[in-house]
Symmetry: C2
Subunit: 202 residues, 2 copies
């Protein structure tokens, strides 16, 4: 006797859900069951949101942030400081910085980080666009590298710093150190090393 199995339609949906980032086989089953048990209205709303977002949202051709065909809130805002460009990996990295309220300049989303093992080369990132923005700026800009502190983030920062060295800009990098509220006991040795190296006089 063959063991019982989900209907084909259920398998297909679970298979699709499993491809989403961070969704494993169990989560996919759970989400599928939940969707099938919930009223049609939710699924319809989700399908509609997916279709609308996918058809209307593009990466801004200048900065790479989420934009509609005619409109990018970051590039359109006349009040932002043109003399600073904050380079981040992903469009989603803009939000934590914006929420902190600490930065009022422009952004540049690379769309990833250098990772030769995963086949991500400089040409796969929005680096050419960044150089163009710097070269075409009316005044010298400060380029703030706000990349992750993992190996790929470091490599990307180093690569960009090399490219930018002889251009009309200053380069800085966000600080690494102890997170606020964290004790020395919880910090890993590398973080402590960076915190020591980055110490400031009182």
């Amino acid at each position: 006797m063959k063991p019982a199995d989900f209907p084909e339609e259920v398998h297909r949906l679970i298979g699709q859900l499993k491809e989403l980032p961070g969704i494993g086989p169990r989560s996919a089953e759970r989400i599928c069951l939940w969707l099938l048990q919930n009223p049609h209205a939710y699924t319809e709303a989700l399908v509609d949101s997916l279709t609308v977002a996918k058809s209307r949202i593009i990466a801004c051709p200048v900065c790479g942030f989420f934009a509609t065909a005619t409109h990018c809130v970051l590039c359109d805002d006349p009040k932002r400081d043109d003399s600073q460009i904050c380079v981040v990996e992903q469009a989603t990295d803009v939000m934590p910085l914006e929420r902190s309220g600490v930065f009022r300049g422009r952004y540049h989303c690379l769309g990833g980080k250098l990772s030769p093992l995963d086949g991500v080369e400089p040409d796969d990132l929005r680096i050419h666009g960044l150089l163009k923005r710097i070269d075409q700026a009316k005044e010298p800009v400060e380029v703030i590298l706000a990349l992750g502190s993992d190996v790929e983030g470091e490599a990307t920062a180093n690569y960009l710093a090399d490219l930018l060295r002889h251009r009309q800009c200053t380069i800085s990098r966000i600080a690494q150190g102890l997170p606020v509220g964290g004790g020395l006991g919880q910090a890993d040795p590398l973080t402590l090393m960076r915190a020591m190296q980055g110490r400031r006089s009182w």
Copy 2:
């Protein structure tokens, strides 16, 4: 200056994704970014799978497993043993049992477990249908309660056992004890208690 924000369409999609079980704000952002960066084909396939599954798949009116309007693999299979009904919480609980190949009888999916705090009362579960199946069976059946061993699972098992006591059936419950491959060191005290209580002579 107002901090920059996602376009409205992105917010709406993230909001929809956040409602899925096990998906928090960060996962929703990550999935949304992933979907927007991936080719249209994937989103279209997902939308199609969602629509098809939601329109075609129903809960089988007899056993509660995933079924199409005309067809439930569990109820339709003539080779299954009618003298055993395995009661599980959710339709998805059928799959691990089927994969293990240990059970060849019929199933009954309750659609949840009793949980007065969450407002799940006996009438919200497929209990009436279970009683009807037992009462209409040609021969006395064995009802195997394969419910979870959490508080709600226990309560549901006790409730069902009370209801079934004077009906034409025998009642059993799947064993609780040490998981295979697990040492005594990893087991919690309650599991050890159940393992001791359920000990069998060699």
